[in-house]
């Protein structure tokens, strides 16, 4: 399932939040509102009871009092008019005053209600038929000054209670409509806000689309107004671009160098053969043209071999031929194979080995060592000794290739491992080169692939040392 888009996620979050806020507000408002309404009814009832008590106290004649109370409450017009009953304790049957002609309070469910203590009052709910009433029952000592009896005066006043619920109902309805509107508005506002907020992102995306391999520009060069939240992103992107540009530049330079190095010997061979063929020539001329071409083709063959080895090294699958390699045998083997070349250059090659096993590619490790030994024989002084020695220490194995040269300047010692470095240098110095320019680069990349390294030390006094360091099993 596709994840929700940012705007819907945020929209839904905001909607839930708004619903929760409205719910809490509604409940609070409902409780508060209902309380206020009830309190209003109750205080009205209390003041009415107060008035009845006062008229009872003022008028000695019950008849007068009754008239006054009836006048106070007025006639009962409808069900919403207050209903009341005033009586003395021991005169249950004979009430002082009543708002209803019928037999109050038989059809009211008051019997089950316990009377309040003398001097006290209580509120309760009751209903007549379907109509809800709020009732106040006060029970006071006889307020009449003339009375000597200690009978208590009961007053029950019932007030129509329905309007409280209907008002709360109206209130809730308004609240509900408002809530829905607010939720809709908040979702809409969120979407708009998000769209506005994401505008810089859309802008940056457009700019990003302009960035191609040929045009690796820094994003910050054209996004100058990125909001602070996006600045780390732009920075990170630029750093990535920088790394990519560097890699691409190296790749381009390598391709240019490789194509130059491949085309040049090809051009020489072609021109040599075409020159020889351009007219009738002596057989010696043909022979020398063929010999030269063969020589050039060998140079080309060597270069292609090294290039393919490099390409193979870059291959992800290149670890498929890895196994445990007996380095002791391998070093001895490679040295033995290089001996004829050393003797051809009228030099010697000596080696000394020690037991070591490492995990890696036999073929690549052979190439690594052979390249270093070849270099030592080729670029060391003519007719001198090259020595290979081996040492195992702290889980690492060192292979040292030593020659009596020592002409590599310190500032060049790191650069010689670059692809085609030798050739670029040769171009500057006008000296012709015989190598492919890839030997050391290849050696270093093989060592790194085996989690190892190659270092070089060179000075005229001690000669040149190439040290291969590899982790052994």
């Amino acid at each position: 399932m596709q994840p929700f888009s940012l705007k819907w996620r945020l929209g839904i979050c905001v909607a839930i939040l708004v619903v929760a806020i409205i719910a809490v507000l509604s409940v609070t408002a409902y409780v508060q509102f209902r309380e206020t309404l009830k309190t209003g009814v109750d205080s009205a009832l209390l003041s009415q009871a107060e008035a009845v008590t006062v008229s009872m106290a003022a008028d000695d004649s019950l008849l007068e009092a009754r008239k006054e109370i009836q006048a106070f409450f007025g006639p009962i017009n409808d069900t919403k008019s207050p209903v009341y009953r005033v009586w003395f304790e021991d005169e249950q049957d004979d009430y002082v005053a009543s708002g209803l002609q019928e037999n109050w309070p038989l059809d009211w469910d008051i019997q089950s209600t316990e009377a309040p203590a003398i001097g006290d009052h209580k509120f309760f709910e009751a209903s007549r038929g379907e109509i809800p009433y709020r009732l106040l029952w006060t029970r006071d000592p006889d307020p009449r000054a003339s009375s000597s009896t200690k009978q208590s005066l009961n007053i029950i006043i019932a007030a129509y209670d329905g309007h409280v619920d209907s008002q709360i109902g109206d209130f809730l309805q308004v609240l509900l409509i408002m809530g829905v509107v607010v939720i809709m508005l908040s979702i809409g506002a969120t979407l708009l806000l998000l769209k506005w907020g994401m505008k810089p992102v859309a802008g940056i995306t457009t700019k990003m689309n302009d960035i191609t391999g040929k045009n690796l520009n820094q994003l910050s060069s054209y996004v100058t107004d990125a909001p602070s939240e996006l600045r780390p992103f732009v920075r990170a992107w630029d750093e990535m671009i920088e790394r990519l540009a560097l890699a691409m530049q190296q790749q381009r330079r390598f391709t240019a160098d490789a194509s130059h190095e491949l085309r040049t010997p090809l051009a020489i061979v072609k021109s040599t053969l075409q020159t020889a063929r351009s007219r009738e020539r002596s057989s010696e001329t043909y022979e020398s043209a063929m010999d030269q071409s063969l020589e050039d083709l060998e140079r080309l063959e060597h270069l292609i071999e090294q290039l393919l080895a490099l390409a193979h090294l870059d291959d992800i699958e290149s670890q498929s031929d890895w196994r445990t390699v007996n380095l002791e045998n391998l070093v001895a083997d490679v040295c033995e194979q290089s001996l004829p070349f050393a003797e051809q250059q009228r030099g010697t090659l000596k080696w000394q080995v020690c037991p070591a096993k490492i995990n890696g590619s036999d073929e690549q490790l052979r190439r690594l060592l052979a390249n270093l030994i070849d270099n030592a024989i080729k670029y060391g002084p003519k007719a001198s000794e090259v020595s290979v020695s081996m040492r195992s220490l702290n889980g690492l194995v060192n292979i040292l290739v030593h020659d009596k040269g020592g002409k590599i300047p310190v500032e060049e010692q790191k650069l010689i491992f670059g692809r085609f470095y030798q050739i670029r240098k040769a171009r500057k110095r006008a000296s012709s080169s015989t190598g492919s320019g890839l030997g050391l680069a290849l050696a270093q990349e093989i060592a790194q692939k085996h989690r190892g390294s190659i270092t070089v030390q060179s000075n005229p006094k001690n000669g040149t040392d190439f040290v291969i360091t590899l982790p052994h099993i």
Binding site: A256, S259, H260, R263, T264, L266, A267, I268, V269, K270, S271, T272, Q274, T275, S278, R279, Q292, D296, A426, R427, K428, R429, A430, S431
Partner: protein, 224 residues
């Protein structure tokens, strides 16, 4: 016609030089280094320079730029392994007249060189006609009054140069500088020998005063 080859692979340069001498009858100088190449190109009146770009000492494009800003008008053919269109465009924009990528075909290189030299002297037809004289620069044959004339390489070279500059007075120094590479010893009287040989071979009866000697100034190949 005199050509300079600036190319660091000396074997390649030598092959080109040999073919240009043999099949175009050019005088050819070879230089395998950038700084020396620039010096040679500046101090000699070459008709054509074949220029490699990847050179020791100085980059080929730098050489070209410096030559052009020094006011040198020699045709320049860039011969390089760099083959992207941006390289080619830069080559032309720096002042190159032609661009050939390695590896190349010798025949094509020679044909391009001939065309460039022809153009440099305002000629468009591979057969140069001056009055009754016709020089086929491709086959290197000379006809006068519709009859073929056999010339030695140096005689042909001299006549071709005079024909390219027909109607102009060409000094002896000019002739020497354009017809000999720097390995030759230059004796000015050698020119007189060639000129008189040409006069004899082209016009044995001395009916036409084809190559006029302008006293103290040089030679003039008349257009009519």
């Amino acid at each position: 016609m005199r050509v300079l080859i600036i190319e660091d692979e000396s074997r390649l340069a030598m092959n080109i030089a040999q073919v240009l001498k043999e099949s175009a009858n050019f005088a050819v100088d070879v230089c395998t280094e950038g700084v020396d190449g620039l010096h040679l190109a500046k101090t000699n009146p070459y008709d054509l320079i074949i220029l490699d770009l990847t050179l020791p000492g100085m980059d080929g494009l730098d050489i070209l730029g410096k030559l052009r800003s020094a006011g040198k008008t020699a045709a320049v053919l860039i011969l390089t392994a760099r083959d992207t269109s941006s390289d080619i465009i830069t080559g032309f924009d720096t002042g190159g007249d032609d661009y050939l990528t390695k590896p190349f075909d010798m025949g094509e290189l020679v044909a391009r060189c001939k065309a460039l030299v022809r153009r440099a002297y305002g000629q468009t037809h591979p057969k140069v006609k001056v009055g009754k004289l016709t020089i086929d620069t491709v086959a290197r044959r000379v006809k006068f009054n519709n009859s073929e004339v056999r010339l030695t390489a140096m005689e042909y070279r001299t006549l071709e140069y005079l024909a390219m500059r027909a109607g102009q007075i060409v000094s002896k120094t000019d002739l020497l500088e354009h017809l000999y590479d720097f390995n030759w010893e230059r004796f000015s009287n050698v020119m007189e020998v060639y000129i008189s040989a040409l006069r004899r071979k082209l016009d044995p009866d001395r009916k036409y005063d084809l190559i006029e000697t302008v006293r103290g100034q040089g030679y003039l190949l008349k257009e009519n």
